[in-house]
Symmetry: C2
């Protein structure tokens, strides 16, 4: 992902990162975010511990946090300066020549290595991973990834020193799988923190609602030690399903992770943000949560199904403009919330020009006033569209300190951490061996369409994989952009069963000769292995 | 449409209403709303006449208008009390026994007449219309309709007394057709005003941008007397098309009409609101604009295509909750913005219950606090869902004075007048004679699905219309709800070419014996006549 004013260039290092779920906490757990379990004795209304995430999300908090000139929060006591987040690569790349300190071919502009897990190191579900970086542009690879088994434990009710406690059973109660891609900007720190943290946040959020998830339908009440019988009339009427709790847990986990990243970056004196694309399989369903401009698709024999939408200043124009309409203070008089076909100039004053406001899908004409000459809230279009002239995405994690250059205008109220979640019922779909989910950051989708990626995946299906060079040649013919080939090779050369018998070495030939604008990372998952 | 606290019962009267476009204004026009033409000499930046609609839509205006305890606008000077809006029926029903004062069979609970235009009175494009009312429930039919030719004129540049003027050419420059349904609540006044006004607002808005509409692509600048050459780089890149101007004109026309209704109702001391569903054909495209819970579908031989979405407190939950999050003052401490499966009681305090906030699609659990026991911002679901316990729709026209019973809490900031607009390229669709657009208020869709309506429309297609009783019998067999039959008969018995040869009298037999919950109105249009 490219953030116009955030791009760095330079060198690149590699490392390892903890991609596995955090070890189980012994004994009683701390409150796991908003949806978390409560100790019954402490359930005082308004207790800040009961709903920490949500309590923060009040209008008072919003105004304190974002409105310039409003009452400011009391200054926090200074905290000991933590050490910076160490740069790492995903753990599953260890041994593939990508650990920090390894001499790295990507320093050479003529050779852009494609990193993938070493042979024999399997990712869950025959998943494959590949990443590529343009060494000339970035010192660090800002794309990060994580994958692993998701072990959801169950709370049990116990008594300890005359007090009721919820305790955690150490055994797995429900298991799933988790894959995630994070595309950083303004440095790799936020992406590394997200790769280290988000799965733990999700596990905690899921553990807080797991009793509801395994009930026939989520009960209205969820107490610490039993599922209280609720009035089925109400719950049934609302049509609340177990999957709605997983969607809610993903939404809460993104928020919790965002808060963790904000604290950690502040403590370590670092900055930055990242997009997040997460796929989770649980109870026969596939959940894809996306905040940013990465993308996931499902490739089947006769179908290409998008599993996510991109969140950019362009796709979220009306939401962003509406916030600026409701709170113009957020723009501090420096920007206009209106959209014009281009930035207006003094010559345009008094002219009737095309424009759109927050409530409009269509366009109209208006007479240009002085205030319309300000810099537009969303400027440019397509890959060049920027929120407040600064950021190319409208959702993601981190960026708590990000302000418009030389101003006090914050990006965060416009930038959301909430993901959009798509749910796929894998049982209903009757998945086949050749059905593949492809997740990738924007570097891939900038050069290849969904159909091109699907075409390539299909060319490696069992019936089509006789000639490993077929896809390469075909793509070279169809698409003169050599960068595309690199991406495709990156994804194909490191993949083995079931849809490729290609010799990895033969595929790596020629890699790095293309012209890569961006770094990118890609995961592909054979979903029928659920 | 049923507004829980707004429903009246009682008697019913009929009348006629001006459904034709208003006569052309002679000479220079008044400023036609935000996108309107400007006289060049008056184009001062910030001139209140230049952008009347938009200028009102500032955050200052929003806060003055809606925030309790905020600075109030200066009281308006008292205006002469206008006479109430007279009750009428659509003009094209004249002669069908529906004029005011005619003895009306609907007073008898056992006979519910279906009103339709008299034989020989053609609506544009072989369109048909039918309405039905439950005489026991409402004194007035709150559904209104309008249809007619849309004559867009063109401005010409002239000189008058040493001043430059824009003048309107009396000739039609561009023509289209217009059909509209308005479903009133809290009385018929808003629906009547909308039926009298909206087409004029739309005509003015279109006339203000017509030069852009007929250009190869809308120019960046639109001056009063010429289309200034713009930098094609910018306009082209944004992908702005002529149809975007029509969409914008529809959006602006709804807003303008809403303002007119607000002024007229205030002046006449009346109240109420209405939904609005509008279909417009122009330059080979069909535009469907919807604000409320009416619906339009396109029925083709092998396809049923929805042309609108319903806007209800349920379908717009997140938008409504988000506004309450950003401005909790709008709820005046009386409501909670959170959604629960049912209204919470004192017993629920301290329990963990299912909930959703503005940023959530999924559900989670939270510990119930005192503030959660307030009445929910959106309560109930399906047809019972109510915004602030009051209104069943979240978009529509009017309701400027509507407040929650016995409070100062206004519905209007949550209730939007902006429509969603769907565009259909009729040329690309290769429309056939049997392709029919069906528009109806919620009374029809409450008892019939899209597929049932399509099935019935198809049963009258040229190849299927041998037996006029076929559809009736089949529906009676398939659907034991006799109300459905009434609706279907209502739509079928009054229709002639091309898809029905039914004898109207035979179809009216048995009408009125069903159990109608609501009044409803329905328009069907043979779109291939464009």
């Amino acid at each position: 992902m490219a953030a116009h004013r955030l791009r760095g260039g330079g060198r690149l290092g590699f490392g390892g990162v903890t991609a596995q779920p955090a070890p189980p906490c012994p004994g009683p757990l701390p409150p796991p975010g908003s949806g978390g379990q409560c100790r019954r004795p402490s359930l005082l209304p308004g207790s800040p511990r009961a709903v920490p995430g949500r309590c923060a999300m009040s209008a008072d908090w919003f105004r304190r946090r974002f409105l310039l000139g409003g009452p400011l929060p009391a200054p926090r006591p200074p905290r000991p300066r933590a050490s910076p987040v160490p740069y790492r690569r995903p753990r599953f790349l260890r041994g593939s020549g990508s650990s920090p300190g390894t001499a790295d071919a990507s320093y050479r502009p003529d050779a852009r290595p494609v990193r993938s897990p070493v042979r024999g190191r399997a990712l869950p579900w025959n998943a494959g991973y590949a990443e590529i970086i343009n060494a000339e542009k970035s010192e660090f690879n800002e794309d990060q990834a994580a994958c692993g088994k998701l072990c959801i434990r169950r709370f049990e009710f116990g008594v300890e020193e005359d007090q009721e406690w919820l305790t955690l059973c150490p055994e797995e109660f429900l298991t799933g799988h988790y894959w995630a891609l994070f595309d950083g900007h303004g440095g790799p720190a936020a992406a590394i923190l997200a790769a280290n943290t988000l799965h733990s946040c999700l596990r905690r959020q899921l553990e807080a609602v797991v009793e509801g998830m395994v009930a026939t339908q989520p009960p209205m009440h969820l107490s610490g030690h039993c599922i209280c019988p609720s009035d089925p009339q109400f719950v049934e009427e609302k049509g609340i399903r177990a999957e709605d709790l997983v969607v809610g847990a993903l939404e809460s986990a993104f928020q919790e992770c965002d808060e963790v990243i904000g604290r950690e970056l502040e403590a370590s004196g670092q900055v930055g943000g990242c997009t997040a694309l997460v796929a989770v399989t649980l109870q026969g369903k596939l959940y894809v949560a996306n905040a940013g401009d990465s993308r996931a698709i499902l490739v089947r024999r006769d179908e290409v199904r998008p599993l996510s939408s991109e969140f950019t200043p362009e796709s979220e124009r009306q939401r962003i403009q509406q916030l600026a309409f409701l709170y113009p203070e957020l723009l501090a008089g420096e920007f206009t919330r209106l959209e014009f076909p281009r930035r207006l100039k003094g010559d345009d004053l008094g002219q009737k020009v095309l424009f759109r406001d927050h409530h409009m899908s269509g366009w109209s004409y208006k007479c240009v006033e002085q205030s319309d000459l300000k810099y537009p809230l969303i400027h440019g279009q397509g890959r060049q569209a920027r929120l407040l002239g600064t950021l190319a995405v409208s959702r993601g994690l981190g960026d708590h300190q990000l302000k418009v250059l030389d101003t006090n205008i914050q990006l965060k109220p416009f930038l959301l951490s909430v993901p959009q979640v798509t749910v796929l019922d894998m049982d209903q779909l009757e998945l086949q061996e050749e059905d593949v989910v492809v997740m990738a950051t924007d570097g891939l989708w900038d050069v290849l369409s969904n159909e091109q990626v699907a075409w390539l995946v299909r060319s490696f299906l069992p019936g089509n994989r006789e000639d490993p060079h077929r896809a390469k040649d075909a793509v070279a013919t169809e698409d003169s952009n050599f960068a595309s080939q690199n991406h495709l090779q990156a994804r194909c050369q490191c993949e083995r069963p079931p849809w490729s018998t290609a010799d990895g070495d033969s595929w790596t030939k020629g890699i790095g000769q293309g012209c890569q604008e961006e770094q990118t990372a890609c995961v592909w998952i054979q979903v029928s292995n659920a």
